[in-house]
Amino acid sequence: MKRNASVVIVGGGIVGCCIAYSLAREGIKDVVLLERGTLSGGATGRCGAGVRQQWGTAQNCLLARESMRVFENLPDVLGMDCDIELKQKGYLLLAYSGKEMQQFEKNLQVQHALDIPSRLLTPQEARDIVPMLNIEHLAGAAFCPTDGHANPFLTTLAFADAARNLGVEIHQGVEVRAIQQQNGRVSGVTTDKGSIETPVVINAAGGWSHEIGEMAGLDLPVFSERHEILVTEPVNPILDPMVMSFSYNIYCQQTPHGSFIMGHGPENEPPGHNQESSWQFLESMAKKATWLLPPLAKLRIVRQWAGSYNMSPDRQPIVCASEQLEGFFMAIGFSGHGFMLGPAIGTLMADLVLRRPLTWDVTLDLGRFSRQEIISEPSVV
């Protein structure tokens, strides 16, 4: 392990690996990424594997679209062979009220301004795309055919490999224990395997980013929340798009492997690092899924697990340099949608570290909360 680095990234999920790749591609030498467990072993590897561009705010749409372009051309972008099991069969977003439908219409205007090919559907049209869909109470739907699925493990590892090829040192099984400061700025990190001197630390620790912030003396406004998920046995392809509803609170897709993966947001979940599964989730998920997609009743669930959403006050990411501690950067608080934004976040972080204007006009800094510029994203589960 290097004892001197120009940048130390804490966290080997999609965000950390994309940042590592972007920094190295910008020519930054001596980048070290530290992961306590295994790459993509946290929220990234536990997520629903969805990649969508149908957001309600321009900046989310933009970041998702830019990320999707990277996913679509990943071998070319990274200059290496890789297959991330990208499946672009769309996201079908379901609306159960006129109000929800109106929101979708507004979202569409934002999306269309960014050339995202989404459209509105009647319940019957939704059923044409998903013949097994129960359209009872359905007001309508929004659909974007280029949204879909990517394998979070393979995607993260592709960025990690590309970063390594550009000279990044990636260490798994190394836990950061402290962040050192000197003269009011970052000077290094202490790990369970020794110390590294560095002027720059990037907090990309996902569910544990609040703790990493504490090591820097910062009380970052993020907390972790358990979200549960399950997967079934693989079957022949019978469901093209990701089916999702914000009001019914569900997402469900069939992966290219054939298994169905699905989850829903928790109710009254206390903040914390609990990653245990619950039988309550199994029951509520089964009820929701079989009501919405009745043929799933005969499908076998083979595993359930849980992961941590790293929640921010407005459920939007915080990507910025700390104003209190020179040399401390963060890409945190992804609130459940970090995977699909990863590549764009890497680009933004490279801008931040190199102290140049952001590639896209987005506001993701920590200061937005004190400035009362809360991002109001209507489209989250």
């Binding site: 590897g45 609990n274 599964s277 039988w279 199994l282 009743a297 499908l299 076998r300 595993r303």
Partner: protein, 674 residues
Amino acid sequence: MKRLDVLVIGGGPAGISAAIAAGKMGLEVVLLEEREFLGGQLVKQTHRFFGSKEEHAGVRGIDIVTELTATLSGMPNVSTWLEATALGLYEDGVVTVLHQGRMHKFLPRSIVAATGAFERFLPFENNDLPGVFGAGAVQTLMNMYGVKPAQKVLMVGSGNIGLIVSYQLIQAGVEVVAVLEAAGNIGGYLVHASKLRRLGVPILTHYTVQKAIGTSEVEGAIAVRLDDRWNPVEGSEILFPCDAICLATGLSPLGEILSQAGCQVKYVPELGGDVPVRDENLQTTRPGVFVAGDLAGIEEATAAMLEGELAGLGAARTVLSQRASPWSEEDLEKRVQDLKQKLSGLRAGPVGEKIRKGLGRLRPAGESGEDVPEIKPSQQDQPPLEELWKTGIPTPSQLQRKLPEEARKQPRPFAVVECFQQIPCDPCVQSCPVGAIAPFSTINDIPQVDFARCTGCGNCIARCPGLAIFVVGYQPEKGKATVSLPYELLPRPEKGQVVEVLDRAGRVAGEGTVLSVLDSPRMDRTAVVKVEVDPELAMEVRMVRCPVENVNAQETQQEHLAQPNEEEWAQDPTLPGDDTIVCRCEDVTLGQIRELIQKGFTTIEEIKHVSRCGMGPCQGKTCSPIIAREIARITGKPLDQVKPAKTRPPFGGILFEEVVRSEEESDGGEAYEA
């Protein structure tokens, strides 16, 4: 939600014993069994058990189950749920169970997990051909469902399971072409090996299976010799025509539900793999959760039953601390100590050495607690068994020690006890009406015959669980000798028949005349055949071959077996090839695993992420041990430092509709709320 005192998961010998123990304390107990019958592996065991009288010595496994279930059925406070699979143990203490198409929820005050073991799989080329069986599957087909699994079987593994299942296959009319053993010595009890040898089954030590031959099913197998470093020796291949390859390559504790629930597990090779860490009362690191039987470490049914009772009492005690107990605390403690002592005694001998070592390793660092002491058998001067370990056939000098002096050899017949290994077993002592087999000072003693007392009555023959006792009589006046031997095949020879007589290697030694066939109900299906032979054969003949009337029919069937293509196997002797399937859920090959390890994926968790090994319904039971070994082999990392992947509920899987039915039930009011 059903609330109850003790939930026992697994209805094998350990689980039933636990349920009985907790039931005797007057507690409300539910016993879950995944299969449609109780007994676990015990119901498949048609052989007699070793051990001492109190632990069912000499009783066949299947009959032990009958005794246990009879006790159980007399307990109204214990309910047994058959075809009930435990899906998960959740953080709030709820155990979900799949039963009759519906998910049920139990909230027990304490739990005994006795989920048993799973069979270790062996990677070799074409191991996914139909006809490659686990030994447990063969036993289930044959002994539970009466299905003959094959005509000709190659057995891989000479542990007790490999030896016993081979013997049962022969009893079922199947030919066992050979037993392979990768190690240098036979793994199981030597008496079991000797039983097979005299039936003509070769046991090849330092051999393993390299490849299955066949296109759509097994038509043969290639065995290969291994050198001292476990590498195949080129040119040593043997082709065995067979239609099944039976793997008896070891068991591993099945503890997924415990590791999922956060109980600490530790890799202890002597106990079969990852075993739950527990205290001396068998309580795991999750309070109120106890373990027993093979899940706690691979051992035998006798130990499983004792552990089951100990765990059952432990689980009961955690409940009874808040309630009046039918037993005084003193009596309970006395029984607990008694059980611990019995377990120690069982593990005290030479065959318990591995278990003792494993249990020592399992004890948390720094925790005190007595290690199981080794109790040396009273006879310390046993010569080494070297050749016998390799062949299953005693040497002349070993046999010499079992015989009387020349002068005693006639006129009265005498017992030849061909028992050379110190194993915990003593029914022969009880069986002798004249006390000619001296009482043991420890259960692991080797029987010694007092020939002055021995009348040659032959009572001991059918009582020896190892079928290792013969009675030889010389009749110089007739110029003949008689050999009485145990016989467990069908049909029985008949009195007056002239039969081929076989030596200890199953070779035809000559002919003999059957003088008598004793087969009373008291002998419990072990007949004693007395055959008259030439005197020089008396110390050679240990088996007879019954003229079987349907032999011809059997041979005709065997002719239909396709002949394997000999050119195909002669090509590449490397072991095992990259094409070998290691993950049967996701069809991942050994080559893919090797490539990943070379690329730097050196933990099972990482390999799971990219290959899906372990994401299938079996959750890595088949592939994980193979991947762990491959990681250790390539990286040089010690095996105990290769961490298993996480396991996740619901184990075995459950249909959405089965979960939904559970939900409906709680909406509509509980049918059986306690």
